[in-house]
Symmetry: C2
Subunit: 217 residues, 2 copies
C-alpha cells in the first residue's frame, strides 16, 4: 500500500490525512517540529497507519506528498522539507496564495497570481518532482467527499507529468470526484488559483462552504 505524506497540520491536512487513513493508506503528517501537538493528536486518533515527523521526515516518507500548508508559507515549507527529498515524487499542491492581511475577503498575493501562480512557483522550486495542482477550489470537507457539495461537481487538475496526474486522478476518484478536467501543464494553476476570489464571495453569500463548481456543458 502506498505511503502518503501530508505537509501541514491545519484542518486541510487533518481532513485529508484522516480520509487517506480511512482509505487504507499509510500516512505521515509533517510539521516544523517532530513533537507538534496537533500532529500527535491526529496520530493518536488515527491508529497504526498514522505517524508524524518533521517536514523533512514526511518528504522522505511519502511516495505522494500533499502540500496542505498556507499559501504565504508554502514555498518556505517546501525548502524546509528538502528539495532533494521530493525528487521523482508526486507533489499534490492544494495551497492557495491568499492574502488576509487586509481582512475579508482576501486578495491573492500579487507576486503569486495572474502572471504566475503558487503551483508554478512550487514546481520551479522542486524541478525534479512532479507537481499536480488540484483540490484547492473547494473546502476540505468537499475535497475528500465530492458529494458534500450537494451534487455533481467538477474538479480541475493540472501538472506537467502525465503519470503523476494519473496517480492523482485515482485518489480524486477515491474522494468521490467523477468529473475531473485535466487543463494541461502546471501554468494552468493560474486559472484554478484565481477561482479563490469567487469561492470566497460565494461562501460569504451562501454562508455555507459545502458547495463546488460544475462546468455545465
Amino acid at each position: 500500500m502506498k505511503k502518503i505524506s501530508i505537509l501541514g497540520t491545519g484542518i486541510v491536512g487533518n481532513t485529508i490525512g484522516t480520509k487517506l487513513i480511512q482509505l487504507g493508506y499509510q500516512v505521515m503528517m509533517g510539521s516544523r517540529t517532530a513533537t507538534n501537538e496537533k500532529a500527535a493528536a491526529w496520530v493518536s486518533a488515527n491508529g497504526n497507519n498514522a505517524s508524524a515527523g518533521t517536514f523533512a521526515d514526511a518528504a522522505k516518507y511519502g511516495e505522494i506528498i500533499f502540500n496542505c500548508t498556507k499559501g504565504d508559507v508554502a514555498l518556505d515549507v517546501i525548502k524546509l522539507a528538502g528539495i532533494e527529498n521530493m525528487d521523482g515524487k508526486t507533489v499534490i499542491d492544494i495551497s492557495n496564495p491568499l492574502d488576509f492581511s487586509k481582512g475579508m475577503p482576501p486578495t491573492l498575493i500579487p507576486e503569486l497570481c495572474n502572471t504566475t501562480s503558487l503551483g508554478e512557483e512550487v514546481q520551479k522550486l522542486i524541478p525534479k518532482a512532479n507537481v499536480v495542482k488540484t483540490l484547492n477550489i473547494v473546502n476540505c470537507e468537499v475535497m475528500v467527499d465530492a458529494k458534500r457539495s450537494g451534487g455533481d461537481s467538477t474538479m480541475f487538475m493540472c501538472g506537467n507529468n502525465e503519470d503523476a496526474k494519473a496517480a492523482v486522478k485515482k485518489i480524486l476518484v477515491q474522494f468521490g470526484w467523477n468529473d475531473i478536467l485535466d487543463l494541461g501543464d502546471i501554468s494552468n494553476s493560474r486559472g484554478t488559483e484565481m477561482l479563490l476570489p469567487i469561492w470566497v464571495r460565494t461562501y460569504m453569500t451562501l454562508k455555507n462552504g459545502h458547495f463546488a463548481f460544475k462546468i455545465v456543458r
Copy 2:
C-alpha cells in the same frame, strides 16, 4: 417599452443587441463614429426598433446601457460616452480586463484585477450611475440564452444599487437565467472578473465555448 443602449459593435454587442430587439426593446448601438459600418449593418438587419449613433448618442438614449467594449478601452469609451449622460441610469458592465498582448491564454490587466476590478473602476468613473456587473463569465451566445451551456447554470451579479440590480435581474431572466447569485456591492466584480483565466483554460480544454459555471450546493 424600455430603451436600451449598447456600447460596442463587436460580437458581444451585436449578439446582445439582437436578442434585446427580439425581446421587443428599442435598442441603439453606439460606436466611435455615427457612421460605423458594423453598426449600420446591425441596424439594417434588425428593423425599426434598431438604431445607431455615437457613444454619446447611445448614452443619452438608453434607460439601461450595456458596456460591451473590450476591457482595455472600456474606461476611455465611458469618457467618450459622457459621464453626465449616464447619471441615474443603470449601466450593465460585461467587459473583462483581458490582456492578450502576450498571446493565449490572456492574463488580466494587472492594475485592473485582484485589489480592484474593471467593474469598480467603471463605477468610480460614473459615480451617479448604477453599475451592475454580470454576464461577463460566459460566451455571448450563452449570455443571451442560458440553456446553450447545456444545462442549469449560475449567473453572478453585483452592484451597489438594489433597484438597478432588480431591473437587470428581469433582463437576465429573459435571457434564460434561473439561478442568479447576487454577491453584493460592485467590489465583488473582483471575483467574477477573476473567473476569466479559468474560463479561457476550460475553453481551450473543451474546444467549445458553450459552457457555463454552476454553483452546486
